[in-house]
């Protein structure tokens, strides 16, 4: 699969990264001089920002070839069309309308290169009243995702961590692109214009927006943030040497067994916490309201975790089937034996950027394993390979193009 990558920042580059990681030949096009603005995203190697030291850029752009090309220059757009004819797939993340203005619309591309697949990633999609609206990750989570439901009712709605919405969109765009490509592999010359709206990837996500939306239609309820005081058993507890996340929604007797509390509660037939509370509230002579009981159980749980090493408490809960996990910060993720032993990490070194231990393979594929073929390109690194080697320009053409500000 040959991919012409016109994307920038995070969502688009993650999409083309996944394709490159599993074997596609990807040529990444950046504007001359400044390059992909993603090159200016932290973190940088040794906190020293240069165009080659953004760790995030290098993570997002490994396994790609990199060239510079000014698409706003008429000659640049013409060369871009040549490259599009080489490619099976063109992927872009401009504001809708830009591709038309520089002569790279789907209609035009499919005229000169029938069967081409164009994947467009944009904030709100190629059509509709918001198509020119601006957005960042938090904007998309607010308008399309379940932000109203994230956080606590006492405070403002909250976004998720980092730029997860953008990465998620990139992944869906990669999958959509492969679907169109799969169809083309089977039936000649069926091109496609894949229209990925970040807002729609948020609104269509099972975490937890689709459930909230369907529930609203079923019941008319409006779902906003929960109270911090809402009866809930579990939390993130400090252990002797780390934090443990414990969540109790089922297997309630097993939790008590794990903590060595065999009493009448343990012998109860209740399987889930909700069923237990039902029984508790309906039984005669129970001194506590179920909310207070939950609080009391929470205190007991916390005390129990506090007195133990994290790994030991975790293993004990797991033996009894209680949902639980090490609550890691980045150091913990790097140190975790499960990620390391299973080969999540890769070490990548670039000539101008230093070495880094990055997340490497995503899935483990028996026949088509992930490969680190090359580090992310320095700005314009592969201009000679692509313009001279592939498109047949001469070294003199190249320096002329450079003087004209085309590359």
């Amino acid at each position: 699969m040959k991919v012409l990558d016109l994307t920038h920042y995070v969502a688009g580059p993650f999409c083309t990264k996944l394709l490159a990681d599993y074997g596609a030949r990807v040529i990444k096009v950046e504007r001359p001089d400044t390059g992909d603005p993603g090159r200016r995203l932290a973190p940088f190697h040794d906190d020293s920002p240069t165009s080659e030291t953004s760790g995030l850029f290098r993570y997002l752009n490994g396994n790609k070839l990199g060239i510079t090309l000014n698409l706003k220059h008429a000659l640049g757009a013409k060369i871009c069309r040549e490259l599009a004819c080489w490619a099976d797939v063109v992927i872009e993340s401009f504001t809708p309308g830009v591709m038309e203005r520089i002569g790279l619309s789907y209609e035009l591309l499919s005229d000169i290169h029938p069967g081409v697949i164009l994947t467009s990633i944009s904030n709100f999609g190629q059509t509709g009243p918001y198509s020119q609206y601006k957005a960042t990750e938090i904007i998309e989570y607010a308008i399309g995702g379940p932000m109203l439901f994230t956080g606590t009712s006492e405070r403002e709605p909250l976004k998720l961590g980092s730029r997860v919405g953008m990465i998620f969109t990139g992944q869906e765009a990669a999958m959509a692109t492969l679907m169109a490509f799969y169809r083309r592999m089977g039936r000649d010359n069926e091109g496609e214009h894949v229209d990925v709206s970040i807002m729609e990837t948020q609104a269509g996500s099972i975490d937890r927006q689709t459930a909230l939306l369907v529930n609203n239609r079923y019941t008319g309820n409006r779902f906003s943030r929960l109270d911090a005081s809402e009866a809930y058993l579990g939390g993130v507890y400090p252990a002797l040497d780390g934090f443990l996340d414990v969540q109790v929604i089922e297997r309630f007797p097993q939790l008590l067994a794990a903590m060595g509390q065999p009493d009448t509660i343990t012998e109860s037939e209740a399987v889930t916490l909700a069923q237990f509370l039902d029984k508790w509230e309906n039984a005669e002579g129970n001194p506590l309201e179920s909310g207070d009981l939950i609080k009391e159980l929470g205190v007991m749980l916390e005390k129990w975790v506090r007195a133990r090493p994290m790994g030991q408490a975790w293993a004990q809960f797991q033996r009894h089937g209680t949902l639980s996990a090490s609550f890691n910060n980045a150091a913990g993720v790097h140190a975790d034996p499960n990620f390391s032993l299973r080969g999540l990490w890769t070490s990548i070194e670039g000539a101008n950027s230093g070495r880094g231990r990055f997340p490497g393979r995503l899935s483990i594929m028996e026949r088509t394993p992930w490969q680190a073929r090359r580090p992310a390109p320095d700005l314009g690194e592969h201009n000679p390979d692509v313009y001279i080697g592939m498109l047949g320009y001469s070294p003199r053409d190249l320096s002329r193009l450079r003087q004209m500000g085309v590359i």
């Binding site: 509709g128 496609e192 894949v194």
Partner: protein, 440 residues
């Protein structure tokens, strides 16, 4: 425009997924044309799949993930619970109790005419079904088996139980979410982590579907099937790369930023007129700042020289946030979004569910689609996660009832005789009801 077949037309998938993540991955493939056949046990209910529990909830509940149309469980509540209705569309359902030998024979027959098998059980649970990659390959040499464990098929935590939240805790995402002032070195009891909104299920499901597509393309090119393993926790790490890379490059441990951005400011969520109405604004460049100042009517405070550069605004963001909050408090959140966008400022309301259904942009793009399902009635549902401009794609069928397609698949597709079918039925493997003693 000639009507095109959906891209995955002709691909048959045996779907043994459960809960949220696996079914979401299968949904994305079903949405784009794959014939996804859910193979569901009849002797027990898969956990958190057709409903959280085989016993219907009797008392009314305000739980977001736990309801039926009009709050009524009704007959066969597993066909009415929203949990399944959010990811079941475009799929078929048959029942089968593996590893019963008769069921296994029919299952392997189905595998022999399928392209992909998908599952996301705890690894040892899948083994208990009695199937293995080797067995599937004997039935269909080029089969693609896609497995989505929480932490891996092998490794120290292979047998550990986890829901989405645990995978996110292990992978470091939960450390990064939360209000900025919510955590201390001693306490990490994040309310935001306590069980409302997760990430791992969507990420796991999408990773699973992407890997399936990569394997399908490889098979179309070479004829080779393969075993694919996607661990959800691995996928979550890939969604928070900044944090793990910053630690590796600079030894820095990033904490929660709340709604702030590492380099843009002001960026926050501001209260507007009404009970629980909010607006998010995200300003980075000088142009966006000027647009915001214009939209606010160029108030004197905004002329402060400290606010004239990106860095200055970053340093003074709390002060600026206070000013913006005062401005938004008595204004309509939806109107403000459009005012700000017309000035070139990234801004949006925090939509509630009703507002999203009524959003004119979503309407113009036809995102929501009405479906009629015999057991739930007629409702509007979220549609496709993306569009293909050359291939209009309405939802083809609503979520199947349990065992709805038994006859069609067992008799018409697999060629079971009446007698063979009846034997499975009499043995309690084929049907549309779980055994009554489980839920009455």
């Amino acid at each position: 425009m000639p009507v095109r077949k959906l891209p995955l037309d002709g691909v048959r998938i045996v779907d043994q997924t459960l809960a949220w993540a696996g079914p979401f991955g299968a949904q994305l493939l079903a949405d784009w044309g794959a014939e996804v056949i859910r193979v569901e046990p009849l002797q027990f209910m898969q956990r958190a799949t057709r409903a959280p529990n085989i016993r219907p909830f009797k008392r009314p509940t305000s739980n977001w993930a736990n309801d039926y149309p009009d709050g009524i469980p009704g007959e066969r509540h597993w066909n009415r619970h929203l949990m399944f209705q959010v990811h079941g569309r475009n799929k078929l359902s048959i029942t089968s109790d593996l590893p019963d030998p008769d069921c296994m024979e029919a299952y392997l027959k189905l595998v022999s005419i399928s392209d992909v098998v998908m599952e996301n059980n705890v690894p040892q649970t899948y083994d208990k079904f009695g199937a293995s990659y080797e067995m599937l390959r004997q039935a269909r040499p080029d089969i693609i088996l896609v497995r989505l464990p929480a932490y891996g098929l092998h490794g120290p935590y292979a047998t550990y139980r986890a829901a989405g939240r645990q995978m996110e805790s292990l992978a470091g995402h939960n450390w990064l979410r939360g209000y900025r002032d919510e955590t201390t070195d001693e306490s990490r009891d994040l309310i935001s982590v306590r069980g409302t909104t997760y990430l791992a299920d969507a990420v796991g499901g999408a990773s699973e579907a992407f890997a399936t597509m990569a394997a399908l393309c490889h098979r179309r090119a070479t004829g080779e099937g393969q075993l694919v393993e996607v661990a959800s926790a691995d996928a979550v790490v890939h969604h928070v790369p900044e944090s793990v890379i910053d630690y590796d490059l600079n030894g820095r441990i990033q904490g929660p930023l709340g709604n702030a951005h590492p380099s843009r400011a002001p960026q926050a969520c501001y209260r507007c007129k009404g009970e629980d109405n909010w607006l998010v604004i995200s300003v980075g460049s000088d142009d966006e700042w000027s647009g915001l100042v214009r939209a606010m009517g160029s108030p004197p405070w905004a002329r402060d020289r400290r606010f004239s550069t990106v860095l200055g605004r970053y340093r003074c963001q709390e002060e600026i946030d206070d000013h913006i909050s005062t401005w938004t408090r008595d204004k309509d959140h939806i109107e403000l979004m459009h005012v700000l966008q017309s000035e070139g400022v990234p801004a949006a309301t925090v939509h509630d569910q009703e507002e999203l259904y009524n959003d004119p942009h979503m309407k113009a793009r036809g995102f929501f689609q009405e479906l009629t399902q015999p057991s739930t009635g007629t409702h509007s549902y979220p549609g496709m996660s993306w569009q293909m401009a050359q291939t209009p794609n309405p939802i083809r069928r609503p979520s199947p009832m349990l065992g709805e397609h038994n006859e069609m698949i067992y008799k018409d597709l697999l060629g079971l005789t009446e007698q063979e079918y009846k034997r499975l039925e009499d043995a309690g493997h084929i049907g549309m009801d779980y055994p009554a003693h489980l839920y009455t």
